[in-house]
Symmetry: C2
């Protein structure tokens, strides 16, 4: 598995935070990583300190205008981590692609040509199951689902599973649920523990053992345009994402 | 102003929590309130303890199949609070409405006939600016924007303002930004205070003085199907939403 989509239609569960920090930690081990920002909010782009207002080309241009990936690719402050940035221009993609030829597979044909240049590709998705997310699910081999340990987080998992099955049947038979990341976990809180147990019952061994509890340094780091590893390497937040990265490598490279 | 839409395309900022708790507190003062769930996740529906799996009719039927509101309306555990429930069936609405006649104004024509039966109507929206949210913005007189006091929350406000201006020009000239609610505010955290100050500079007197700090009882209450007022009336969370409700009444009824 090389290309992973961060997907969950529930909002604010840690998709961007997990995509950005997992990608950065892997790049820190000198693996070549691409972060593809497919959310019109552009949080992954600004979370890495890139100014969204003067981009010469964005993921919109790649997806809709067939701009070569290499013209849009940007370096980040982290060696070995590159990004396809985006901004609100991408909002137009969902509308413009509706009547386009092979609208669900645009991203997969783009990425296929570049997979050899990277060890990992992470696609950050918006909080919906629309055409942008469908493109990501068609292009990816694995899905990473951040699940916030709160009540509403459980509600959407059934719908997400249905969407994944539909994609597997019609667009991307090799797509698998690669892993579930429990975010904002609080061991002292009954409900948080109950949600974690429920998710483990539902997804079993697909749930990463490394959980990501709430950590103020994690929420501060994007305001400095840095991943947690560079913002505060000694924080609990950095420790948790490094543990997740180690488990990720174990799981997907050990074979 | 009678009809309010809870809108912010950033996910997980407290749209549902604010819609549900503001509506419940107003109903507790014997004002007749309708909560309209327009998010396919159906969190407002389940947050009030309603089983989403055996609904005979949902907001999908009202919006797309012209089902009368009165056939879909359900009572809640709170007297004077009614809900138009929903579930994932609503996902189909965005696709089916794309080519429908007057697709942006479906909700406004539905609600116009029922406004006289309620003192307030709150529409909970999904974390996107697609056709469902556009319907809510076309139907509402006021927009309530929950803004989470975190870095990424500031990013989307510019795009949201642009969308509102577009709706005001083409679909709903009387639409106004009714108020900004600062959620998950943490007075001890520098970044949280900076975000709050930035939002107050941008939106000035539109920002409610009552802020809603993070409170574990608020996040637990939906798992009991209860608004905070019924789950734990003596909690800080209930106090904060009651303060917000008092300010809301002052602002929109004092004239
Ligand atoms: N472990 C954590 N500890 C503290 N804060 C966190 C943590 N993970 C994420 N956050 C914060 O919570 C908020 C939501 O996270 P994030 O934006 O990554 O979620 P998302 O799923 O990408 O949201 P959206 O649905 O809008 O795309 C952000 O402000 C982020 O900084
Ligand atoms: N003041 C608060 N204190 C603690 N938890 C809160 C508070 N407000 C909301 N939450 C919790 O944070 C999460 C996000 O809130 P909520 O679901 O209301 O946001 P939303 O904007 O409606 O999300 P979405 O974008 O997915 O519709 C939920 O789990 C909710 O219970
Ligand atoms: Mg995100
Ligand atoms: Mg919601």
């Amino acid at each position: 598995m090389k290309t992973f989509a961060l997907v969950n239609q529930k909002g604010g569960v840690g998709k961007t935070t997990t995509a950005l920090n997992l990608a950065s930690c892997l790049a820190a081990t000198e693996r070549r990583v691409l972060l593809f920002d497919l959310d019109p909010q552009g949080n992954a782009t600004s979370g890495l300190g890139i100014n969204k207002n003067n981009l010469k080309s964005t993921s919109y241009d790649v997806l809709v205008k067939n701009q070569p990936l290499s013209d849009t690719l940007l370096d980040t402050k982290i060696p070995h981590l590159k990004i396809i940035p985006t901004n609100t221009q991408l909002v137009a993609a969902e509308i413009e692609l509706v009547s386009a030829f092979s609208r669900e597979k645009r991203l997969s044909s783009v990425l296929a040509a570049y997979e050899k240049d990277f060890d990992y590709i992470f696609i950050d998705c918006p909080p919906s199951l629309g055409l942008l997310t469908v493109n990501a699910l068609s292009a990816a081999q694995g899905i990473l689902v951040p699940v916030q340990c709160e009540y509403y987080a459980l509600e959407g998992l059934g719908e997400l599973t249905q969407t994944i099955e539909m994609i597997q049947q019609h667009l991307n038979p090799s797509l698998k649920v690669a892993g579930i990341v429990l975010t904002m976990f609080d061991g002292r809180n009954n409900l948080s523990r109950q949600v974690a147990e429920e998710v483990e019952r539902f997804f079993q061994d697909k749930v990463f053992k490394a959980r990501i509890p709430r950590n103020v340094k994690i929420s501060e780091s994007p305001s400095h345009g840095l991943p947690i590893l560079l913002y505060d390497a000694f924080s609990k937040g950095a420790e948790n994402y490094m543990a997740l990265t180690a488990e990720f490598i174990q799981k997907f490279e050990a074979q």
